[in-house]
């Protein structure tokens, strides 16, 4: 992994709901994360890095390749555009890009067990149902599983 002088972990957040995205970003930054946001899968792969928000799959994917550091991906299931979180994970893993081993955490509104299982099969690390978790607890949990010791 790339060493950086800054030992903050970098997390890419892909979430289409602006108000939630803002909350997530604020809270993650408070918890010592470097945050890159995205509202679509499309943009996560294309747009240049600086402080862009991504909410569709393609952008998210292209965006990713240009990043210097990604330690985790926070992914919503419903996104802007035709593609959803499943498309993102499928393409992301298939691409075999430099970040394809980065852990993915799905944070979604949908609690359908089919969806949870499909994500698990695709190799997603954990699935959280939004309304059932405190934001703080999701972040704690992610931090824990990343072995984030700096605080």
């Amino acid at each position: 992994m790339i060493k950086k002088s800054n030992n903050k972990k970098t997390i890419l957040v892909i979430e289409d709901e602006r108000s939630l995205l803002k909350a997530i970003k604020l809270k993650l930054e408070k918890s010592n994360f470097q945050v890159i946001t995205s509202r679509s899968v499309e943009r996560a792969f294309t747009t240049p890095i600086k402080n862009v928000t991504i909410s569709n799959v393609r952008v998210a994917l292209e965006h990713l390749e240009e990043l210097e550091r990604v330690d985790a991906i926070w992914l919503d299931h419903d996104l802007l555009g035709d593609e959803d979180g499943l498309d993102f994970v499928t393409k992301f893993k298939a691409n075999g890009g430099k970040w394809s081993k980065v852990p993915i955490f799905v944070v979604s509104n949908t609690a359908s067990s089919d969806l949870v299982k499909t994500y698990a099969k695709l190799g997603v690390n954990k699935y959280y149902v939004k309304a059932e978790y405190r934001l703080e607890n999701i972040i704690k949990d992610i931090t824990l599983s990343l072995g984030n010791k700096d605080k």
Partner: protein, 346 residues
């Protein structure tokens, strides 16, 4: 029908609805002419037919959660609603009159309504998450320190929102059950552990009300084929009801045991709480029904918990029932069959 259940008269609506002519069916057993089956297509046995029960003098309360179907002459079927009344002569049952109708349309409307509820509840979740997360951040002081009074008000907002989230979740579960998209996913499950986990989750509420809680969980309960998520929901609902509807300092006891003779796992939970008024006990598993005595005391219940419990247990091949006395307490019993599973695990 006469007292043996043989048809003595049918009207024109009958002929139209099931396709049999009057002269073809007179004198024949109605249960043979118009077979009845469950939603899944299982034939309802002769002894289980309401008609048979009414003829033997029993009072039957139909189970409206599980609809049934009547089969026409051409073997097609339709969902039906029926009422069976005994004909009495000098106090003796000499026959019955069955009135039934085709409820296809009602069911379609009901389905459309359920789909709407499901969709609407789902849409409600995003704004609810927004409220929940921002309130959480305010309370955590992320936007600056709050005064004691502000904290108090926000606490109310937060709790009200949590209640709305659980109501929306319950509505979603109910609509999935009603639509039949709530599929059981059984797997070998450690029910003892599952019950313990639910208890741990609710310990804070139990402690807050200073309830005297005890549990007896039999050792060596084998893995049971069950859907752990749904079964947890059953235990959660029953336990949280007991906690909610028992006064401060009251008593709650739970037990989990095997009945090897009946090949069932028995979960029992009793409290010495408010109880269910006798005249409302028949309705207690009905959707959105809440007994009068608790409506006055607590505003948090949704009236959906026991409906969900019953739907899950019925679909799992188990049984749920209760004994209750107002102001004395309530005991709920749940059984789950385990014959199917032992094969797999031993």
């Amino acid at each position: 029908m006469d007292k043996k259940g043989k048809i003595t008269y049918v009207n024109q609506a009958f002929e139209k609805m099931v396709g049999w002519k009057s002269k073809e069916v007179l004198g024949r057993y109605v249960v043979e002419v118009v077979p009845r089956e469950s939603e899944k297509g299982e034939t309802v046995l002769f002894n289980e037919r309401i008609l048979t029960k009414v003829l033997s003098g029993k009072v039957v309360i139909a189970d409206l959660i599980n609809p049934f179907y009547y089969i026409r002459k051409d073997k097609s079927r339709f969902p039906a609603s029926s009422i069976v009344n005994p004909i009495l002569l000098d106090g003796k049952i000499i026959g019955v009159v069955e009135t039934f109708r085709d409820i296809t349309k009602e069911k379609e409307i009901d389905k459309a309504k359920t789909e709407f509820v499901s969709l609407a509840s789902h849409q409600l979740r995003t704004p609810l998450s927004t409220i929940s997360w921002y309130t959480e951040m305010l309370l955590a002081g992320d936007a600056g320190k709050l005064s004691a009074e502000q904290t108090k008000y926000l606490d109310e907002v937060y709790r009200g929102n949590q209640r709305m989230i659980s109501l929306v979740n319950a509505l979603l579960s109910v609509s999935r059950m009603d639509l039949g998209t709530f599929i059981l996913e059984p797997e070998p499950t450690n029910v003892a552990k599952l019950v313990e986990n639910v208890v741990i989750e609710q310990m804070p509420q139990i402690d807050r009300k200073k309830l005297n809680f005890s549990s007896r969980i039999e050792k060596n309960i084998p893995l049971i084929q069950a859907d752990p998520k749904l079964l947890s929901m059953v235990v959660q609902n029953l336990l949280s009801n007991s906690v909610k509807y028992t006064g401060e300092g009251g008593k709650i006891e739970i037990s989990l045991s095997l009945d090897l003779k009946k090949r069932v796992l028995l979960f029992k939970i009793s409290d010495n709480g408010y109880g269910i008024p006798k005249n409302q006990q028949a309705k207690i598993f009905t959707k959105l029904f809440r007994a009068d005595n608790v409506r006055g005391k607590d505003t948090e219940g949704t009236g959906l918990g026991l409906y969900i419990v019953k739907a899950i247990i019925d679909n799992s091949g188990g049984k749920v029932w209760f004994e209750s006395k107002e102001d004395k307490g309530t005991t709920f019993y749940v059984t789950l069959p385990f014959n199917l599973l032992l094969k797999k695990n031993n």
